[in-house]
Amino acid sequence: MARDTLSPEGEPGRPGFVARFLDNDVVWSFLHSPAAIVAATITLLCIGAALLAPLIAPFNPFDPSQISLWDGKLPPAWSEGGQPQYLLGTDNQGRDMLSTILYGGRLSILVGLAAVFLGMTLGVLLGVVAGYFGGAVDAVIMRIADVQLTIPGILLAILINGIGRAVLPLELREEFAIYVVIIAIGLTDWPQFARVTRGAAMVEVSKEYVQAARVIDLPGWLIMWRHILPNVMRPVLVLATIGLALAIIAEATLSFLGQGIPPTTPSLGTLIRVGNEYLFSGLWWITLFPALALVVLVFAVNLLGDWMRDALNPRLR
């Protein structure tokens, strides 16, 4: 990358970047907010457990050859009839609940992260474009963002997901379900990012170096890009955290409606949908644990997002 030579103002390198991001008041605020510490710990634990699921889960529930139907519907290990290798019991297919929840949580978080990343990328890009070019381009992009912001994300996700599923031939629907969900949620998420980035871009675009770069026929937006990013880093991160909680809920909702991740590779939402069928059967562990996992995860991410909003960017309140 010719990045450093292009930088006219002695752009701070990566370490400075990180330092600026984690400057003292933020750390101070974090250490003095028990809720934030708890939330961050739970969130990290959840994400860690989910990402490491293949290493720590006792079974791989996605591998059909590891499943024995004869072990189905066993209660948690501490209940009567439970078996020690299945700590939280097994589901109707004989899958270990703990493993299924770990893998399901992993899928939920991955879908959430991917969707947020998609929304973030799209939003930041469009924001920069809008801010840099201004005029009609700006008007169109921001009008679309405005309109979209008035439609609740979950409804949009359901609609886009519905269209996506309908467009896919029946045979491919299960296979591509996860991508459809990611795109559906990601597409609902970008306007917030675009707004923030556009604001920062509009500030930069009038600066001399951009004008100078334009004069010598350098792509001004390329330079600008590096200046905008640090400016929008904090709000974008806050938005992304809040967005993650919403994305996880959206995925769970879609899956619960039977429109999301298929039951062969269940996410938390799919597990809750399946569990819902066992609500009256006495097999409470199939219903309760996935729901609990989802609520704890979302609650933690929400708390973290709340705190970040206060600490990093009070203006976003």
Binding site: W70, K73, N92, E171, E174, T264, F280
Partner: protein, 526 residues
């Protein structure tokens, strides 16, 4: 007891609130409120041959001959019948009225058979048995057959009688006018001779039927239901919740895992009976290359060893115990006991032997297995999707990598009828209680539900022969011979025969029937 008191108080409240509604009458009425997971697809009695649709239409329409809850043939619109080598003569019931007041006569029988045999009818397979209908007088018809047909009355139980005049007036002479740009009248309107007539119909929402005052059978049947309210509830848990909380009196398909809970609840009960329906997997051995497999240029299912391997790798006992909560009979046939042709020799399931299955796959040239898509309905049979999920895990153990596509029946069935599926789950009930019904739909090379592409010359031949063979012994021998071939060639992988469980309020007496049909004329509400 307290529940009933509060309920009474509530109802009193309703009548006070329901301005001007005939609330007093409502109190005296016996209303059967029932639910199941999928609504009837249409009220047209001939455009969909499918259980729930037939059940609903069977309350509104009637056939010449019917079966009671014990599966015995009973006269319905025909009072008696006699056979001759070239057909059967039916004496029609006199004084029968359609709901719109028209008389039921011989011309309606002629019309109904023509309608049932038309291209867009889903009953043409059964109706084909009747070559033509001769009118002898207003109340006598002769159903002419191509040669002798010993089981004709058995084949008539789901061919409902439609009024000719009504059909012509409303432009529904054909079961489904597919070019129509407007709603076909018969989709939501019905005019039968049956005990109940349609009061209102909102598909997927609520269908209300009320007793037909002019019904010929009034007073001859034990049932005392005045009004039927049907509300489909797709979600299993919600369906049970509706029963537990007293919003419905009857659930046709309570989820098996909830039966214990329902039985343990005061004021609710469960009845069960072995069903005339078998559940099995079909394997397309007809095409040269499977659509969804990684094996190209050849079709593994063409090799009987592969089909045997599939049969051996499915643990039917585990499915029975865990998936079906014990409510099924594992089998090696695709037709259940009670149907002529099911024999104790052929009925036992293929053993569960994954090692042998692997060996057979290797022998057939697929030591590493292959991949394939399994198509499965998710709202039709008891735990259909869960059976498929279990099969996916079992097949994985022998190296067959199955991707599961579980979809609603409305999309699943066309895949079978259009023969666009490689590997699928299907259940088959036999209203005629005769193997001919199974052969002609599922095993004959032309069978409209035979998506396996199975084409055995002898089986095809026997299917033809038993339509006319009148000697019971010879005929039974032919049927047994065909089943022997099928047992060897394994075009299907049988899983089990279903057991039906119905859940209802203690005050409801609904005789359970092996065809899973709710017959409200026998339902007594206390």
């Amino acid at each position: 007891m307290r529940h009933y008191l509060t309920k009474g108080a509530m109802m009193a409240g309703v009548s006070a609130l329901a301005l001007g509604l005939a609330a007093q009458n409502a109190l005296a009425e016996n209303v059967l409120r029932w639910t199941s997971q999928g609504d009837a697809l249409t009220l047209d009695p001939m455009s969909q041959n499918e259980g729930p649709t037939n059940t609903m239409n069977g309350m509104i329409y009637e056939s010449l001959v019917t079966r009671d809850a014990g599966m015995t043939l009973q006269p319905e619109l025909a009072e008696s019948w006699t056979s001759a080598p070239d057909g059967w003569t039916f004496k029609l019931r006199e004084g029968v009225k359609f709901h719109d007041g028209a008389d039921f006569t011989a011309e309606d029988v002629v019309f109904s058979f023509e309608r049932a045999k038309s291209e867009s009818s889903d009953f043409k397979e059964q109706a084909k048995a009747v070559a033509s209908v001769e009118v002898i007088d207003d109340y006598t018809v002769k159903l002419v057959t191509d040669g002798p047909n010993p089981i004709l009355p058995n084949q008539l139980t789901s061919i409902y009688m439609v009024d000719k005049g009504w059909a012509e007036t409303n432009n529904v002479v054909l079961p489904q006018d597919f070019a129509a740009k407007e709603e076909t009248y018969s989709v939501r309107n019905a005019n039968g001779t049956g005990p109940f007539m349609v009061t209102s119909r909102a598909p997927d929402e609520l269908t209300v039927l009320s007793a037909f005052d002019g019904w010929w059978g009034k007073g001859q049947f034990p049932g005392n239901v005045d009004k039927i309210e049907y509300r489909p509830i797709a979600n299993a848990a919600t369906r049970v919740a509706a029963l537990l909380s007293g919003e419905v009196d009857f659930v046709l398909d309570p989820p098996l895992q909830d039966l214990k809970r329902i039985e343990a609840t005061d004021g609710l009960k469960i009845t069960t009976v072995a069903q005339i329906r078998s559940i099995f997997f079909g394997m397309d051995q007809g095409v040269d290359e499977l659509r969804s497999s990684n094996i190209k240029g050849e079709n593994p299912f063409k090799d009987v060893r592969v089909r045997e391997a599939i049969n051996l790798s499915i643990d039917k006992a585990a499915i029975q115990r865990v998936v079906m909560e014990g409510l099924s009979f594992p089998t090696g046939m695709i037709t259940p006991p009670g149907v002529l042709g099911n024999t104790p020799d052929n009925d036992p399931p293929y053993p569960y032997d994954p090692e042998k299955a692997k060996a057979l796959l290797a022998e057939a040239g697929y030591p590493d297995g292959f991949s394939i898509q399994l198509d499965c309905p998710n709202n039709r049979y008891n735990n259909d999707e869960k059976i498929c999920q279990a099969a996916v895990a079992m097949l994985a153990k022998v190296g067959i990598d199955v991707s599961l596509s579980a979809i609603p029946k409305a999309q699943h069935f066309p895949k079978i009828q259009n023969r666009t599926t490689d590997f699928y789950l299907l259940g088959w009930g036999v209203p005629t209680l005769d193997s001919h019904y199974v052969f002609s739909y599922l095993l004959d090379k032309e069978g409209s539900w035979n998506a396996t592409g199975y084409d055995n010359a002898r089986v095809n031949e026997i299917t033809g022969m038993i339509t006319t063979e009148t000697d019971i012994e010879t005929r039974t021998a032919l049927i047994t011979e065909a089943w022997g071939i099928i047992k060897e060639e394994m075009p299907y992988a049988p899983i089990h025969h279903q057991v039906i469980a119905w859940a209802m309020a203690a005050g409801v007496e609904a005789p359970i029937a092996a065809d899973d049909g709710l017959r409200p004329r026998y339902v007594v509400m206390n």
